[in-house]
Amino acid sequence: MSREWVPFGALAATVILIQLVTMFTNTQYYLTQLIMAALYSIVVIGLCLLMGYAGQISLGHAGFFAIGGYTAAVGTTLNLLPHRDHVLVRMAERAGLTIQTTNSWGVDILYFSPWITLLAALLLSGVISLLIGIPVLRLRGHYLAMATLGFGAIIYYILLGSRFLGEADGIYDVPGFGLPGGFTFDGARNNRVLSYYFVWALVIGLMVLMHNLVNSRPGRALRAIHGNEPAAMAMGVDTARYKLSLFVLSAVCAALGGVFMAHYNGGMGPTEAGTLKAVRYVAIVAVGGMASLWGTLGASVVLNFLSLRGYFGSLDDAVFGVVLITVMLVAPDGILRRLGMYTLRRNRDTAPDAFPVSAEKQVQRGTA
C-alpha cells in the first residue's frame, strides 16, 4: 500500500493500542467517552468538509444530529403492536423489518428494525438539508451563519414543544442497534469493547471516504470554490450545486452520528439540537484548522473527551465559546495548522476566510 494510507493505519493502530492499555490498566470506563467522542467526530468530519473545503459555515448541524437521533429513537420506541393490523406494519413485519421483544417494564413490544430507522434518518436529514440548503446557501458569511443558526433553533423548539417527541425529556428506552454476528451496539457495559471498535471502524471508514473525496474531481472543485469562487465558476464548476451537495452530505453525516448516539445513550434529548452544541462543532473545526480532516478529528477527540469526562466542569459550554473566539482572533486558519501540522506553505495575506463578508450578487459572480 502507498504512503497515502499510513495515517489511516496509524489511527487504527492507535485505536487498538488505547483499548489494550485500558484493558491492562483496568480503566475501561474511558472507552465510554471515547465512543461518544467518536460519534461527535462523525458530525465534525462532515462539517470540516463544508467549512474548510467549501468555505460554508453552518450553525445548524446540531439540528441534523438531532434529526438523525430522534428519527432513530422514535422509530425504535414506537410500539407497533396495537397497529399490527395496519397494512404497512403487516408488510414490514412480513419483510422482517420489525423486531418483537419484551421491554424492561415487561411489556410486549414490536418496533421497527434500527436498520430501517437508520435509513429513514439518513433520508430525512438528506431531504431536509436539501430543502433548507436551496434557499440558505445563496447567502454567504454572516448571513449564512445566521440562517443556519435559525434552522437549528427551529428544530430545537420543535423538539422541545412536541408532546410526541417527549418535550424537554426527549425520548428514552431506545434499544441497541443489532449488528451482524449477534452483537449489539449500545451502552451496556459488556458490549463496550465491541461498541468501541464498531464506532471507530465507522470513523476510520468515514475518514477514508472523505479523504478520497477531497482528492477527487468534486473535491478539487469544492476547494476551488473556497480558493476563488468566481474563477471556479469561470472554469465550469457549477458552484451552487456543489455547495448544496456538500451541505447535504455533511448533514447526512451529522444524522449518522445522531442515530448511533441515540442507540448508545438509549435516548436523545432536545439539548442535542441546541445552539451550544452547534457552536461546539464549529469551534472544533476551527481549532482543527478548517481544511484539515486530521486536525479536526484530533481536536474533536481531545476536546470532546475532556468535556465528556467533565474536566471543564460547569464551564463546559463557555470553554467552547472561548475556544472559538480565541481561534478566530489568534489563528483564523486553525491552531493546529499554525503549529505546522499542515504541509502546504501559505502566506499570511491569503489566509482562508470562512466568513467572507460580501453579500452582493455582483461580487459573488466575480468580475475583475
Binding site: 478520497n212 473525496l213 477527487s216 476551488a224 474563477a231
Partner: protein, 268 residues
Amino acid sequence: MPSRFLRKSRCSVALLEVNDLFRSFGGLRAVDQVSFTVPNGMIKGIIGPNGAGKTTLFNLIAGSLVAESGTIFFDGRPVSGLPPHRIAARGIARTYQNVKIFRQMTVLENVMVGCHQRSRGGFLAGMLRLPFTVREERRVRARSLELLEMLGLPEVADQDASALAFGRQRSVELARALALEPRLILLDEPAAGLNIRETVQLAQTVRSIRDLGITVLIVEHDMSLIMDISDEIVVLDFGRKIAEGTAQQVRRDPEVIRVYLGDEDAEG
C-alpha cells in the same frame, strides 16, 4: 474598409458575435451599444484607455455580469444570460486582469480544476474511488502536466500556487484556462506586470495558442504587443466602440489618435 470585412466574416465563420451590448453601473455607461464579431481562428485585440469598459465587456461575454440589453452568440447559439459555468462548458475560457488563482491549492491542482468540464466523476464515485475515476484522474493529471510543461512551469507543479511570483501566477491562470480545452479564450491584460523578456515570451505563447485552433480575444495596454499579434483590433472609449480594423487601420484612425494622444500631433 472595416465594415465590409466585418459583414463578410459574419457570413462565413464568426465564432463570437456581439450585438448592441449594453451595461451600465448607476449612471455610468460601462459598455455602450458595442457590436463586433470574432472570426474563428483569429487573434482579436481590444484596446482603450483606463475605464473604457474592456473588462466589463469580458465579464459580459463570460457571464459573470448580465447585460441590460444586446445579445451574444457563440458558435451560432445565444449565450447571453447563461451562468458562467454553462458558458465555460460551451467553450469560453478566461483569465483575469487581477489574477484569480485558487488559494491553498498546488499549481497542478489549479490546472486540474480547469479539466473539470472534460471529466465526469461525481461525489459518490470520488468517495469510493471507483476504477473509472482513477483512470480519469490519471488522464487529467497527465494533461495538466503537459500544459504546465508548455507554459514552462513543470518544476513548480507541487508548489502552493498563491505563493508564486505574480508573472508565474499569470501563467498558471493561462494553463488552467487552456485545460478547459476552450474554443475561445479571453485574456485580460496578460502582459501587465511582466518584464520585457516575459512579454516577448507571452507573444509567442498567444500565437501558439492560436495555432492550437483556439480563437483569442485579448485586452492589452501594451501597444506594441497588441499591434504585433492581433489580426484585428477593436478600440473602446467610454464604453463605446470608436474604431475597428487591422493594426494599420486603427493606428491611422483620427478618432483613435485623438483619444490616445489628446490634441497633440499624432506622429509615430
